[in-house]
Symmetry: D2
Subunit: 336 residues, 4 copies
């Protein structure tokens, strides 16, 4: 088994989670943890017994003892770092999103595809055992022809309004995971129609965003669907996805977090998943192992930058639909 | 306790179900069962020990020993029979719909309201223990401010295409129950946007209808929602309604029909509700008892013809939205 | 269809329930309701439109216009009334138990079997959709060879201590339903070993009884099992039965009473069945319909007096085991 | 944070699982993996980046660079290795059981308690999130006074008969986990009465054992309970534990392994846990982290050898009860 020497960029909260998820993955060694804040880089390096820490991200990407670059830096830096890494001839795993604009994302797609280096984007839900089993059941023909899709995503606590202003809006920032699941499980989306409201906090409206949204989806294969989301569900992190077809209906939904029930199979009060790292812990681990495994086997990992581009286009179409009050075809969305 | 003498009109399949549900309701005696097919009327009369059967519906309505008129005749006759009954000074229960056109329904509303006689329309889901408990929880403040609504309705077997052509379309014929639930649980709907497709049978498209539909709802109180429906779910009759608010989320969904599980709390294969009479058996009984109880207490029963009108307007708006490919405000829908 | 003319004896609380469950059963007419308290008989007669009420039970049994006798009088009178009815040549349905002593029950068995008239005893759980489906699955071979049985029965509120003193003890009064289910689903029991304790109220110990019990069962076919019971479950009426075999495990358990869930498929707090009439409403109705249907078809209904005898012997063996602190074979139990 | 240098003894299948679960636990470094089969030791060392591998277990225990000894060697060696390690002045974690005889276990208890070194025994169920939450709920008073306990344990595939002959029997080998849960959640057991049968394979009977068992438990605090077990459940690994008290009932049971349902919240066919490492993966990880954390904090870890002794006494009493066909008090069980 080849050992891949990883440079891990970004040792913030999620960066630390990803780093720890690399522990025990066979065939990988974290050589460097780099973060502009050296103390953060050092803490990350210590957590995984990495050889060194660095505050120089560019030097780290280009270091001769680094085979693979993994990126968990702030969103605004993803595009540039992915491009630098593939230009340095190195495979990349990067947290979603690639970029928040269509132009930025398309530029990365061109650079990555020209380089022919493997680049994986962290849409981790694809590695959740439930979604993976749903995908498997669909491919095995258990659902038949897919007719309907439904996704519900509820965060537990709204982010600060300061973040909202730079988030790209609820569809780009949050529902993009549901668009990715729609594409993963059903296929390409052709048209979207979206509505929303600021029901939780008027600050969302002031920031030009909504905190509650619904949308309809029309897929290229004829299926129709809905999505629904909120920035705040007081009862816990609540993600449910339904796929119905000519033969069966699948529901991906984690219920109680703990195998403890009260009385007649009623869950123990308060036993809820609390956040995406909580709900998708297994998925986050799975994507790390999968990425390294693809490198071992010389396979291109998925989802890649083109998937990120496709889901972003849907999210931008939904945002435009919300703004204009009319259905928007994905083909209308293009970089000006 | 006063005994109400009922004339029951229409002894078809659902008529017989309603008749049997009257058995054992205190304070009611079925005097006459009337049906243009005398043999059907006689079978109905025998089933409930009614005094007589008749094939003369008009005479039955006007009979001096009849206090109350209950109507389960074909849809096209509802409007006229309701009007005759209230003109004869008699309280009415009638299967939904009142009429399939806005003009027809509005005419009945005017006639009924002028008469001041109690008229109840059979939106039976309101009497299902699950929906009734949801209503109660909402009124008790358990959900907080309602932010999102979602309804899924799946019939098991599509009706014959001959019926589809006269059905008024999927929104008027089938999803009207979900619009009624939306109004019952959340409040008035202001705007709807609908998409659909003929995925099960191209005959639906030829009949100018769809067999699969999704829609978005915007409520007067600010909440948003989605509905989703299909004419055919091969795995069983599948109705799920979600109401989410600032404090909690409610889900009304009947799961296994029978209290038998296999292995680890997995339902017994094939143990599904098969149709609306199967799923809503308790609701159908409940509405009979409730209607008679209202008469006993001198209270106006609900839902009435104005509810039928309101839900029909939403269904017509959804139908128009589907046709025109744009959101339609309920206020746009008016009798020409 | 023949119409059977019923004399219904005993118009107490459960009697009224059974009477109402006869309404709508085809082929049956309640001629007389008899109760030593004439006002009770009259109320019962009114509830079902019976021809007359009577306080003379003996005359009622023998009335020439009565074809069938149904008995819901106090326990102590069952044996004598069953015997009188079959001696009068009339089929009988009687609430359980036949009698609380072995000698008394055996006497009835001899009288009934000599008469060859159909006599059914009201072990209603056999008519619950869950237990009936379990029986069907077992007979269809879905479970394979049965290896283990488990029954849990929890009442919600303990009966008054005055009743406890005359109840025959927890095994005879309450767990006899579980012994009947064990025999119905698995087969004959050969040996029982029982423990118990008075944990809820020391008055149970003073009355020579326990309020909490466990027991082991050994079946003739080699399977083993456990039962567990309590007189008081503060969270609701709680009945669970498991049957495990070489191929599958079945669980009969009614969960939430109402199809309303909160948040992630967690039942609505407080939505529990509250008592046996609540949990077994469908079963009580089913047994009435089944009994009349057997009469129509000229079939012997089941369970009969011999089933009551067999379950009583198990209950008496459990009682003896509890007292003597050792396993007791059913064959040890005999009328002295 | 102190770093504990671990010698890990035994690199078989479960040894490898425990080793991998140490990866990422803070404050621990595996110095040596020792196994009589050097290749196994080397594979173990490689898996965790240990400094060295060894086939000399005694030298490994005594090595001066080893602070802590962890034992996953074959059952027959546990007692001796625990004693050697504490005599060498080193804290120990050891897989259950300590020994299969009472005398052997008592000897270890004396040696360990004389040494005052921390020794933890691997009853991993205590670290399952469900059992841990149940314990927490009980301690918080949510259940009230405990009245009833019930444990069901079903393995999926029977072990080879060669193993059965040396296993100590179903109660010592398998149900000891349920006795540990009974003691953990309810308290000390005073008396047990057990029955069993060889229903799966007559070879169990030939080996003097049973493959299917039931037992009753009487607790010192007055509660009663049952346990039930089988060596083979064809539908998946099936563990359910119920604790009922004056206020509530708790059920610990993992249901579907994957958050994927079909149709109406029915689990996806075949989605079962398959074995104890599968079901208790989180528990196995948790016990490693807990043990090291206790060492960090200078706390005595639990469960210890005295817990192993107490559960073994219950298992031996059950075995004696099975053999003698009578209830056996735990106090009757003593080392001859």
């Amino acid at each position: 088994m080849k050992i891949f020497n990883v440079a891990f960029l970004g040792a913030g909260r999620m960066g630390m989670t990803h780093l720890r998820n690399l522990i025990g993955v066979p065939g990988v060694r974290v050589r460097v943890v780099a973060d502009p804040i050296l103390a953060a880089a050092q803490a990350g390096a210590a957590a995984v017994n990495a050889e060194r820490a660095s505050s120089d991200i560019e030097a780290t990407i280009n270091a001769s003892d680094v085979d693979v670059v993994m990126i968990a830096t702030p969103t605004g830096t993803h595009a540039e770092l992915i491009e630098r890494a593939v230009r340095a001839g190195k495979p990349v795993w990067c947290e979603k999103p690639v970029a928040m604009t269509l132009a930025g994302t398309e530029h990365v797609v061109q650079t990555v595809e020209a380089s022919k280096h493997p680049v994986m984007i962290g849409f981790m839900r694809r590695f959740d055992p439930g979604y993976a089993a749903a995908k498997h059941a669909i491919e095995a023909g258990e659902v038949g022809r897919i007719e309907r899709f439904r996704a519900l995503s509820c965060d537990t606590t709204p982010p600060p309004l300061a973040f909202i202003k730079t988030s790209g809006g609820i569809f780009v920032d949050m529902m993009v995971h549901d668009f990715d699941m729609a594409r993963f499980l059903v296929g390409e989306i052709e048209e979207v129609s979206a509505w929303g409201a600021a029901l939780i906090d008027p600050g969302f409206a002031e920031a030009g965003d909504v905190d509650t949204c619904v949308a309809m989806l029309r897929f290229a294969n004829g299926a129709v669907g809905t999505i629904e989301g909120t920035r705040r569900a007081t009862w816990g992190y609540d993600i449910r996805t339904e796929i119905a077809g000519s033969k069966a209906k699948l529901v991906v939904e984690a219920q109680n977090k703990t195998p403890l029930l009260m009385a007649r199979n009623v869950g123990h009060e308060g036993d809820y998943f609390q956040s995406f790292p909580d709900r998708f812990e297994t998925a986050y681990k799975g994507e790390m192992a999968y990425f390294i495994d693809c490198l071992q086997k010389g396979q291109m990992p998925s989802p890649g930058v083109r998937d990120a581009l496709a889901s972003l286009r849907v999210a931008l179409a939904a945002t435009q639909s919300l703004r204009e009050g009319r259905p928007v075809k994905i083909s209308e969305v293009s970089a000006q």
